[in-house]
Every structure is written in C-alpha cells, then in structure tokens.
C-alpha cells in the first residue's frame, strides 16, 4: 500500500494477472518487503492478534448463524440446541463467546500501547481516530451479540443500554421506539440486533483496511518514537515481523484456549442461562466486563442526561487525544512524568471496571465519582499540562543507535510479558459473577466434584443414581426440557446402552398429534423425545406451587451462582474453579432448617433455607433420608442424594463437558509445541538483526 511496486512474479500465469491487476505487487509491498522498525517489542504483535481475532469471530459467527434462530420464543432454545446437538457446536459457541472477550483484551492492550508510546501523534492522527472508530463499532457489535442468546442478562442489558438514548432531550423517546421497533424490547428488537450484529463485523473489517492503509502510509511507530532514517533502522516485514507475530498469536491462543476449554462460563453471567423474562428484573444488572469502566462512569453521575454524556464522552475524548497531548517527544520511555501518570491512568481504568460490577451504594458511589474525575483529568488536565512543564530525556538519534545501546540489557521482554499477564488478569476484575446468591445468605461450602479440574470426568454411578433421584423426586415439580432420552446413551453421559435408554423412554407417556382425526393422543416415549414437563405452562406451574414456578432444571447448575468476591475471582482463573453452581445447588438441598432462627419471620407458605438468598424459599424440603432406594449400596442419606442429583444436573447442563476437557488437553499440547517452534524460528530469523 505504499506506492507502486516494481515486484514481478516469476510464474508466467501470475505475471499475466499482475499486468491486469497488480495485486501481488500490492501484497508484496505491504506485507513482504514493507520496512518495519527493527526495535519493535512484543506489544506490537497485538495488531496481528487483533486481525486474527476478527477473522476468528467472523468465521465462527457465520457458522453459528447457520444454526441460530432470531426469534424471541426460540432464540434461547436454539442456542442450547447448538451447544447440545450441532457437531462441535459447544466449541463454536465457546470460541465465539470467549472470543469476544479476548478481542477486547487485545484491543485494550493495543490501545494502552498506543497511549504509552505516543502512537497517536503527528503524522498518525487519522490512524488513531480510525482505531477509535473501530473500538466504537466493536462495542456496538459486542453489545448486540450479547443480546442474541436472549437470556435474562441479554434482555435487561438491552433494556438498560437502549434506554440510555431516552436521555436525549425532546427526541429521546422516539429514538428508543425506533431502536426497539415496538413499545418495549421484544421480538423486533432481537431481529434487528441480529441483522446488525451480522453486518457490523464486516464494517469493522472495512475500517480495519483503512486503519492498515493509514498505518502503511505513516509507517509504524516504535518504542523509541523516532522515525526510521536509514536502511539500518528497519527490517523487512517478512520474515521478521511475520514470524514474531505468529509467535505472539500462538501465545495469545494459549490464553484463549484456557478459557474456551476450561472456563467457558467464567467471563459470562450465570443469569444469562435463565431465559429472558420481561416481567422480572434480575437483582443486579451488570454488563459484560469490557463495558464496566464506562458503566461505572455512567452510574457515578447522579443526573441521567449528564451521566450518559459523560459515558460517551469518555470514549469520544480519545479522538481528541492528538491535540490534547502536544508534547514533542512521542514515547513515554523518555518522559519520566508521563510514564508515571500513564500507569496511574491504567490503574484508574481497572478500578473503574471493578466498581462497575459493584452495587451502586455507599463507598462505591463516592469512589466512582473520584475515579471518574481522575479519568477525565488525565486527558484534560494532566496531558496538556505535562506537555508544557515536563523535561523529557534526550531521545536517541536513530533506531539503530537505540538498539545498539540496549543490547547490553535485554531483559525487557520478560518484564513486558509479566505485565501483560498481570494486566490481563486484573482486567477480568469486572467479570465477577452477579451477586445473585450472595445477599443475606451463607456461602455454600465447597465440595470435591469428580468433574472439576482440567481432567474432570463425571462419575457414572453418581449420574445413574442422580437420574433416579430426579425421576422419583424432583420430576414431580421440575422439568428437564432440554434433555432428550437419547442423551442418556450418549458418550460422556450416564453410560446407558441405546436399548436401556429406549426402555427408559417407553416408561413415559408423551403427547403427540394431531392424528388423522385431528386429535392429540398419548403414546409411549421414544429415545428422540424430551423429558416431559410436569406442568403445561408457566402459569399452571405458578398456580400449583403457591406463586413460585419451579424452575426447569436442565441448566440450573449453570444458572445459579454466588459471589466469590475479591481476591477469589482472580485465583479462580488459575485454579479453574467454576463449580459455584453445583456447590450452591448441593448446599441448597441440604440447607433446610426446621428451627427458624430468632428475628426471622417467614412469609406464609415459605420455608427456611440457610443458602437461599433471603432465606425464605417456597419449595418445601424436597428429600429426606431413605426416600430413594439405591441398588449399588451407596448410603441413602440426604447428603448423598444431593451430591448425586447435583452431579446429574451438571451433566444435563453441560452434556459435552468431558469432550470439552479432552479436546482442551490435546489443543494445549499442540499449542505449546507450536509456540515453542515459533519462538526458536523467530530467534533464528532475528539472530543478526539485534
């Protein structure tokens, strides 16, 4: 992209094309011969990582769209069916959902890198502004994508975010109606979000082309912030930058795979496994972690319109950065004060993210206000002021001087890597699970589950016993509507044979029809049928159970959680702890107490449960010792029942968990070998460039 090239392909067929469409010349000059500064560090590989992630999201997204149904009644179910029935559907969905988070991790690193090394300064202003536009488009795309599974958080997130526009004076209400295509968030909203979610990534790809074009015109910035002057300052893009980027991508893939295969739900919210319900707002609405700093800014301002302006202003202000920071020296490496303020700014952003996930009360509100002030002060006060008063250290004459001066102490990459990890880790600060089960209840005790950890497997005996408990006890009130009888015979499940599953199914009566006479009729179940629900509809379930409908149990172990709190949610990333749901369910089943503690009054028709949020639960104690007989000699105690049925429900929530962990291990072995190969190839290629 930097002017006409004199590249001539040697193959005659390619020459023929080249004379008519000089595309190979374009590729050659942009990605092969293109001179890249030789002092770039690993922070510069995030550009390649981002391009890779964009491709990944588009690829997985297009396949997912082939199976997804954008309809308010069917969307939630179609996502579940993708995960359960589509070949490797669970993998596609995890890649896409985790991919969105990883995309944002990478974009934040990329932006902070630009901020630190002054990559927005003359002559790269347009390059920077294009980047901000991409970031805005990413936010919109990510938000609309999060709405598509149509869970509780999707629905209420959509409600809160679209309502932001109602703050606009005079026309606000009409804008919101226009966004919804109705009088509230509903089916038309879902349809248009799906359409836009499919469109915007291609718009992003288009702006990325402009971004890369602008980059190749202005040339890359570099850690020393001096422009390349001679041949000696640069190396050709291929193989030097290519191989380095490959190594960077491979390392990033390791992080990505960690979440895909071992912690797919860590970055999401348990509430999103509950289908959207326009009549009930979840107690604690949190957006995805990557919006949290802005959400915190929105909430810390007590006035609605001002809050919305501040929130959008926090992003738009980035566009003016090139004119706010007028310092001549680009890189903070040579700006002792700017460097310190930069790290303070990073800390402010992370803390704002943390506050965005906390309930808006007391100290959190005050802290939010202070940090919001700091955020804007950095751009409006600190940077303009520093440009006037700071005395920068002398910059090297040329890039090769800088490289030569450094060869003595080459420990920086190690330090950088450590900082990347720390930053990535703390950015997840926001993804704290909703406070759902936390308020006013005890923490469920931890259990040892056979299915936890990287090599976890379901205990077949427990699955079979749990199925028995479900069938004899839970099934009288709770449905299991996403599980089919055929699933019982599938690998990774309770280990029944196909014949056994068919026999199990035939014990059920299933409604079918209409027949030739137009009547509905009952017939014995077949393996392809789903577990029949005990009630015809939610209203019937509600009416029969004193106003509280018993939830469907298919996803219950993923739809319930409790707050882990700081610092546990950071440790969890490394220990792969993600059994909040099972721990909570098992604890709840054992948490009934006949004696209500003093000072607690229960509403009529409620029971006291230690672990239920608010303690007053409508479900009576479901099970007692000896109620279900076991053939394999396991103890028939409530503790054992709870454990077995919870294991069974974990399987119903995630029938492909064993396959996920098995594939994860293989992928990790491959990636580690691949990254190692890339590293040594890179060393070889760069051997005489340092």
């Amino acid at each position: 992209m930097s002017g006409p090239s004199d590249y001539q392909p040697s193959n005659p067929a390619l020459q023929w094309i080249e004379r008519r469409l000089p595309i190979f010349g374009l590729i050659h000059s942009s990605f092969v011969a293109y001179p890249t500064p030789r002092n770039l560090n690993y922070w510069w590989t995030f550009g390649a990582i981002l391009s890779f992630m964009l491709g990944m999201q588009i690829l997985t997204g297009v396949i997912l769209a082939m199976h997804y149904t954008p309809n308010a009644d069917l969307a939630f179910k179609s996502v579940e069916l993708i995960v359960r029935d589509v070949n490797y559907g669970w993998l596609l969905r995890n890649m896409h959902a985790v991919g969105a988070s990883m995309f944002f991790v990478a974009v934040y690193v990329h932006m902070f890198r630009g901020l630190y090394y002054g990559s927005y300064k003359e002559p790269r202003e347009v390059l920077w502004i294009l980047g901000v536009i991409i970031y805005l488009l990413m936010m919109a795309t990510g938000f609309m994508g999060y709405v598509l599974p149509w869970g509780q958080m999707s629905f209420w997130g959509a409600t809160v975010i679209t309502n932001l526009f109602s703050a606009v004076p005079y026309v606000g209400e009409s804008i919101v109606t226009l966004l919804w295509g109705g009088y509230a968030v509903g089916n038309p909203t879902l349809n248009r979000f799906f359409s836009l979610h499919y469109l915007l990534p291609f718009v992003i790809a288009g702006v990325v082309v402009l971004h890369v074009w602008a980059l190749h015109v202005a040339g890359q910035n570099n850690p020393d912030g001096v422009e390349p002057k001679t041949e000696k300052d640069t190396v050709p893009f291929t193989p030097h930058a290519t191989i380095k980027d490959m190594f960077g991508v491979a390392c990033f893939l390791l992080l990505y795979a960690w979440f895909i295969f071992y912690m797919p739900n860590y970055l999401g919210d348990a509430d999103n496994y509950i289908p959207a319900n326009p009549g009930v707002t979840p107690p604690h609405i949190v957006p995805e972690w990557y919006y949290l700093p802005f959400y915190a800014i929105l909430r810390s301002i007590p006035d609605k319109l001002a809050g919305v302006i501040a929130m959008f202003g926090a992003i738009i202000i980035l566009c003016f950065l090139p004119w706010l920071d007028t310092a001549k020296t680009r890189s903070s490496k040579y700006r002792p004060l700017a460097k310190q303020f930069f790290w303070i700014f990073v800390a402010v952003c992370i803390l704002l993210g943390y506050l965005g996930a906390q309930p808006p009360e007391g100290i959190y509100v005050i802290a939010g206000r202070i940090l919001t002030f700091c955020y804007f002060a950095y751009f409006l006060i600190v940077l303009p002021l520093l440009a006037r008063i700071e005395k920068p250290r002398p910059v090297p004459n040329s890039i090769s001087d800088a490289v030569l001066a450094k060869t003595g102490s080459r420990s920086t990459p190690m330090v950088s890597t450590a900082i990347v990890l720390a930053l990535a880790g703390s950015l997840f600060a926001g993804s704290i699970d909703s406070a759902k089960a936390a308020e006013g209840s005890d923490k469920p005790p931890g259990n040892t589950w056979s299915f936890s950890g990287p090599f976890g497997k379901f205990d077949r005996g427990a699955l079979q016993r749990g199925l028995k408990v479900y069938k004899e006890v839970c099934a009288s009130c709770h449905g299991l509507s996403f599980v089919a009888f055929r699933n019982l015979a599938e690998p990774g499940g309770p280990g029944y044979s196909v014949a056994q599953a068919a026999a199990f199914a035939s014990e059920y009566k299933v409604k079918d029809g209409p027949n030739d006479a137009g009547d509905m009729f009952e017939r014995p179940g077949r393996p392809a049928d789903y577990f029949p629900s005990p009630f015809a509809n939610e209203q019937a379930a509600r009416a029969a159970n004193g106003g509280a409908a018993p939830p469907d149990l298919s996803l219950i172990t993923k739809a319930r959680s409790y707050k882990r709190g700081f610092p546990w949610f950071i440790f969890d990333v490394f220990t792969q702890y993600q059994e909040q749901g099972p721990d909570y369910v098992a604890a709840l089943l054992q948490g009934y107490e006949d004696k209500v503690p003093e000072g607690v009054t229960l509403p009529e028709g409620s029971y006291y449960n230690k672990y239920f949020p608010g303690h007053a639960i409508k479900m009576p104690k479901p099970i007692s010792d000896g109620q279900v007989t076991y053939d394999d000699g396991s103890p028939t105690t409530v503790a054992q029942y709870s454990k077995d049925v919870t294991t069974f429900l974990m399987w119903t929530a995630e029938p492909h968990m064993e396959a996920r962990k098995r594939l994860g291990f293989q992928v990790f072995v491959f990636l580690i070998v691949f990254a190692g190969l890339m590293y040594f190839t890179k060393k070889k290629v760069w051997a005489d460039s340092h």
Partner: protein
C-alpha cells in the same frame, strides 16, 4: 424501523376488571409489552401520598393529578423505572411504594420519584374508568 402495523394493532386498548384486587394489593398487567401496576391503595397510603409538600419533590406533581378523581384508591402506573427501564418492585423501599433494584431509585405510594437517579415520576398510562370496577388502558 418504527413499529410495524401488527405491533401497533397489538397495542390497542385493553380492559381490566378491578373487582378481584383487595385493598392493599396490586396486580401487574402487560400492555404494549410494558408492565402496568394497578394498586388498590389503603387509606394510609393515600394519606401518605397527599401529605407531602409537593414543592419539595424532585418532579413536583400532586397525587390528585396522578389518579382519577372519585377513584382515589386506584393507582395505575407504568412499572418501568424512568431511569433506565428496569421493573421496580412494588411494596418495597422506604416510601412504601416502589423500589428499583437496578440503581436504587425509590418511588412513593403515588409512584413519584423520591430518591435515586431516576429523573421523573413513574408514568401514568392513558386510561379511563368504564365502570366502577373496570378500567380501559390505552
């Protein structure tokens, strides 16, 4: 991209029978996809709503202006928080009215904003009494 004809048609007025709602109770009905709270207020709740100094409210409005005269016991409001659209919970919060769990707005027994980030009172939908025990919303 505005609502299509079928959406508009589905948003036609609805009739609600009030006779089953006992004093101190409320029901939630859906109209145009929005939850509407209809509460049968007690004497105490009405007095609470009427005894405040209207000028001191964030969004000054008298209780009389928010209900139909002759039917003071019935409060009909759209159950959508005027902050960012969550559904407030009835009979909660320090004013015996509504409490929004999302960002903590508190409304009184007349659905007026008393505390928190919401800028205005809960909206009153268009409705009229067709008979003493029946209203038409819309």
């Amino acid at each position: 991209m505005n609502p299509d004809a079928s959406t508009i048609a589905a948003g036609a007025p609805i009739e609600v029978d009030l006779s089953p709602i006992a004093e101190g109770q409320d029901i939630k009905v859906f109209w145009r996809g929005k939850p509407i709270y209809i509460s049968h207020r007690t004497k105490k709740q009405i007095d609470e709503a009427r005894s405040v100094n209207v000028a001191s409210l964030p969004d000054p409005q008298t209780d009389e202006a928010r209900v139909k005269s002759g039917h003071e016991q019935w409060l009909v409001v759209i159950g959508i928080c005027t902050h960012l659209g969550c559904i407030p919970i009835a009979h909660e919060g320090s004013y015996d009215g509504f409490f929004c769990p999302c960002h903590g707005s508190v409304y009184d027994t007349s659905g007026r904003i008393r505390q928190g980030p919401a800028p205005t009172n809960l909206a009153v939908p268009p409705y009229q009494f067709v008979s003493d025990t029946k209203i038409q919303i819309g």
